[in-house]
């Protein structure tokens, strides 16, 4: 059996782990070949890749959507060709109207940003800033990316809650997911002389970049709360060193292998639950040991 898979971006660390989960799992099963394509963050390219898979006569397709609102056309194309399709990691917009031979293995992106933001809020309160107030920055991912928009909104929602409204967001800028840009961005913020207590980063790479810039400027990492998302190995090492305060784990590898199983089952006509939810988990220095060798 042949499975075609298209991944939103190969350049993304988290999606790379997920992809490796898919490939390793598929290669372990006899008689299954998997071909993984890079959609390079382009919805149109992703749709073309699905059509190419159909032309090559694959038995099932796995889609990690670039944009969850673009999934209608993909579902239509697969349904017309009678090829089963599984969405992975991101929840498609047409979830409720998916045809019978399509399914989803995903997490709710709302959780990711919220979990880390609430943890940051708690840490700040514990440090006694709940009374005097706290100032913070948001480092956003690529503005054309849905996860970046969502995670930023999550932080805004948390800061809007009664419990956390002592936090004021001074400024928000994009690092385009990259450590280097986050470093430069933080150095720019530091140069304005404004004091701050918390940094909300849309991903761990940006959190690490901001930490590096703060260390270079001689700011003690004890005084600033930094939170990210992804629980990458670099992030966990930073957490070990007491620099990163919280991040959020999502079982990328497990999602990857789960999607392959679902795709194979669909292609064999077996029953598969329509929606499989994979929850996010908060990672702090307290429980980081559980995640060290995961992502």
């Amino acid at each position: 059996e042949t499975i075609g898979a298209t991944i939103a971006r190969f350049d993304d660390n988290f999606l790379t782990v997920m992809r490796n989960g898919m490939v390793e799992h598929a290669e372990a099963i006899d008689g299954v070949t998997i071909q993984v394509e890079d959609a390079a963050d382009d919805v149109a390219k992703q749709l073309d890749q699905i059509n190419n898979f159909i032309a090559s006569g694959v038995d099932a397709i796995i889609v990690n959507p670039v944009d969850t609102s673009a999934t209608q056309a993909m579902s239509d194309a697969a349904e017309a060709a009678g090829v089963p399709l599984v969405y992975i990691n991101r929840q498609p917009v047409n979830l409720d109207t998916l045809p019978d031979n399509q399914a989803m293995v995903a997490s709710n992106e709302v959780e990711s940003g919220t979990l880390s933001a609430i943890e940051a809020c708690k840490l700040l309160r514990a440090a006694g800033l709940g009374v005097v107030g706290a100032k913070g920055y948001i480092i956003m991912g690529q503005l054309s990316n849905q996860a970046a928009i969502q995670r930023t909104k999550d932080v805004d929602d948390v800061v809007g809650m009664d419990m956390c409204n002592f936090i004021t967001i001074v400024d928000r800028q994009t690092s385009e997911w990259s450590r280097d840009k986050a470093q430069d961005l933080m150095a720019n913020w530091i140069s304005s002389g404004e004091d701050f207590d918390v940094v909300f980063a849309n991903n761990d790479e940006s959190a690490i970049g901001s930490i590096q810039a703060m260390k270079a400027a001689g700011i003690s990492m004890e005084d600033v709360v930094v939170v990210g998302v992804d629980a990458t190995q670099d992030a966990l090492v930073a957490m070990q060193a007491g620099e990163l305060d919280a991040t959020v784990f999502q079982d990328a590898f497990g999602q990857g292998s789960g999607s392959v199983d679902a795709a194979l089952a669909l292609s064999r006509g077996e029953d598969v639950p329509r929606k499989v939810w994979i929850p996010f988990k908060l990672v702090t220095p307290a429980n980081m040991g559980d995640f060290l060798d995961k992502n």
């Binding site: 394509e37 032309a55 928009i149």
Partner: protein, 361 residues
């Protein structure tokens, strides 16, 4: 003059040795690439003797051609192909347009917000951008909005280049950033989905191919047989000479950039219709691929040379490569490397064929 072997003033001239048209080279390169893929299909053990363009086993469509493959080969390059038609004109005129990719993103966002339905699956449209008035508009409205937006951006590009004389690379790089900004700002990064049926038709099925080929035929004629086309070549060939010959170079350049941007905006319409959504990142790298299609098709980046036929063939090269890779299940890492190698080889082959014809640079 028809068949004589003498030029003006009785100079000896062997008419049978007319220059080999550039387009034939790239056509042969295309055939070579297809043959290589077919051969790989026979050679690679895991392919079980599959064929890329033929389908002997299943005969799904009552023909031995793999219709699905042939369709996707051209379908997947039609939209960038439409952009490449405009880029071809810009490059022939001696310029370059880097803004076409981001313009696709911006135009798609804007257009889509005028093409939304009120109800999705019976529920209110969750992606509504404007109020009630912007729902269920006739398809002509978003199309006109899109083309006007394209014309506007193109007019700015063209005016900057024509009047302030800044290099096209910089003017359109600036517009590149501005258009990306517009795309992100329009809905603050939120994608826009759920178009009306009329709008969805524009890019459905093989419609992108129909648009692409129709526009290609139109602009082939325009470049070869109209004053507009002749002046475009003249300006690209020697701008000073064109000016001294009394061509209104400034007005003409603005026209060229407007047409190019309107084509990019039209590509955005077809693209968002095909995908039933618009998102800010749409069109990334399209400018590079559109330029590459034109150049592979023989359009010279120094201006003055090239043709629409070449660009269409250049687009086909990309289509065949992309489909071919999935067909031989090439690992995605190697795809990029192989694509790079093939693009270079195609142009080297073209260059090499040309050399046999004439040896002076």
């Amino acid at each position: 003059m028809a068949d004589s072997t003498e030029g003006i003033g009785g100079l000896k001239y062997d008419k049978t040795k007319r220059a080999w048209p550039n387009e034939l080279n790239i056509f042969f390169a295309l055939i070579a690439i297809v043959l290589i893929f077919e051969a790989l299909g026979q050679i690679l053990p895991y392919m079980n003797g599959q064929s890329m363009l033929f389908d002997f086993n299943t005969k799904r469509d009552g023909t031995i051609l793999n219709i699905a493959r042939l369709k996707i080969i051209i379908l997947q390059v039609s939209i960038i192909g439409i952009i490449a038609l405009g880029v071809t004109q810009v490059i022939i005129s001696g310029g370059i347009d880097l803004s076409s990719g981001p313009l696709v993103g911006a135009a798609a966002m804007i257009v889509m917000s005028f093409a939304q339905t009120e109800l999705v699956n019976g529920n209110p449209n969750p992606k509504a951008v404007f109020g009630d008035w912007a729902f269920d508009l006739p398809v002509i409205v978003p199309v006109i909005v899109g083309l006007s937006f394209g014309a506007f951006i193109g007019a700015i590009n063209g005016s900057l280049i024509a009047y302030t004389r800044i290099p096209p690379f910089i003017a359109t790089l600036g517009m590149f950033l501005i258009c990306r900004g517009i795309a992100q700002w329009w809905t603050r990064g939120q994608p826009v989905s759920f178009p009306t049926e009329g709008y969805a038709w524009l890019g459905s099925g093989m419609m992108p191919v129909v648009w692409f080929l129709m526009l290609a035929v139109l602009f082939h004629f325009v470049l070869r047989h109209t004053v507009y086309g002749k002046h475009t070549y003249a300006i690209g060939s020697n701008e000073d000479a064109a000016r001294m010959s009394g061509i209104n170079v400034q007005r003409h350049k603005i026209l060229v950039y407007m047409i190019a941007s309107m084509l990019a905006a039209f590509a955005a319409i077809v693209l968002s219709s095909k995908n039933l959504t618009a998102q800010t990142g749409m069109g990334q790298f399209y400018e590079l691929f559109a330029i590459a299609m034109a150049v592979i098709g023989g359009v010279s980046l120094t201006g003055g040379r090239g043709s629409v036929v070449g660009t269409v063939l250049g687009a086909m090269v990309f289509g065949v490569i992309q489909s071919g890779f999935t067909y031989i299940r090439l690992d995605a890492f190697y795809q990029l490397m192989a694509m790079g190698t093939i693009i270079i080889s195609a142009v080297v082959l073209d260059q090499w064929r040309q050399k046999t014809g004439k040896s002076r640079s």
